[in-house]
Assembly symmetry: C2
């Protein structure tokens, strides 16, 4: 059985990475799709794990080589999804989770219609604002940009398959794992089980 592609979006500061890490801790056979980006590395981030950190020039080479499933520019930086590791994992039955911003996620859904799109909501706008303020690494201007962006992102959430409110890590992780599990139970994913079984289905 092929692995599923689970695309997670949500405003900056909503806790997407923590959530995905938790799901990978609790559930086997899941791989994180590492994005490529031209934005500078933040403290604590690891190249090849958080992102593949590349220069703008290198990123433009990836675009030219058609090596990205999607890419977008956001607040002056490129973000994109390398295709090859995703295809390899899903062919081997491994689920792939990724954290992709809205424009990229919607592009992926167009290209791979059975990708599962999950939008992560903050418990409230006030909580989201506080989380962003808690991150000391942004200027007031960038903060305002992010809040405007979050507003627009929320307006796009209706195009997603599922909405999960991150009002508790364990609850949100459980919901995301349920979505991953349920998607594998869909009739379309398992229809071969009926066809195979029906061939030897000769009441005696």
């Amino acid at each position: 059985m092929k692995g599923k592609l689970i695309v997670v979006s949500g405003p900056s500061g909503v806790g997407k990475n923590t959530l995905l890490n938790r799901v990978m801790e609790l559930r086997g056979n899941v791989q994180y799709s590492v994005s490529a980006t031209s934005r500078p590395m933040r403290p604590g981030e690891i190249d090849g794990k958080s992102y593949y950190f590349v220069s703008r020039e290198q990123f433009e080479d990836l675009i030219r080589d058609d090596a990205l499933l999607e890419y977008a520019e956001y607040v002056g930086n490129y973000y994109g999804t390398p295709i090859k590791p995703i295809l390899e994992a899903t062919q081997n039955g491994v689920d792939v989770v990724m954290d992709v911003e809205v424009v990229g996620a919607l592009k992926i859904k167009k290209r791979i219609p059975d990708a599962v799109l999950v939008f992560i909501l903050a418990p409230s706008f006030t909580v989201l604002k506080k989380r962003l303020e808690g991150r000391g690494d942004v200027s007031k201007e960038l903060m305002e940009q992010r809040l405007e962006r979050a507003k627009w992102e929320y307006s796009q959430a209706e195009h997603y398959d599922y909405l999960i409110v991150n009002d508790g890590l364990d609850k949100a992780a459980e919901e995301l794992m349920s979505v991953m599990q349920a998607e594998k139970c869909k009739t379309m994913e398992r229809i071969h089980l009926i066809k195979e079984e029906n061939e030897c289905f000769i009441p005696q």
Copy 2:
């Protein structure tokens, strides 16, 4: 939030009741929809719990009073779903699970399109046959009827939303609970969260 209606079908002997009991043990806020039937009570069954056991005449009164969500005749007996308890439970945010044969399940889906249809498969036809033979309460003729019926039921499984193979109670229960959980995370079920939030979403 309204409760969901989860309609479970599958061939006789596949373990639907055991599965639903397990799910109700493990998950709160779930109610079993007790069907009405005109078939005789089997050893171990309890009136009002396994089924509402009624006479053919009483069943025909229920039909006339439009008190059933659906009903069907199967191997000479009536089976039907009383409407009222389902509406009351879902209005109160309680999920309702039911065990309904295929014809009834497909009728329910037409009448309540957001009902979730789950078909339970045996691990194999051989296992299903053995389970039916293990039940000492059926004649050879009824056994053959059931196997023919099972064959036809499998051919209808493609109209269901999800397929679950009952090749282990815990695994099957986990999958069914994931389906119930994931259905509640669907964007359509939660879209009000975005609308409400967006109203106070004025970046300052």
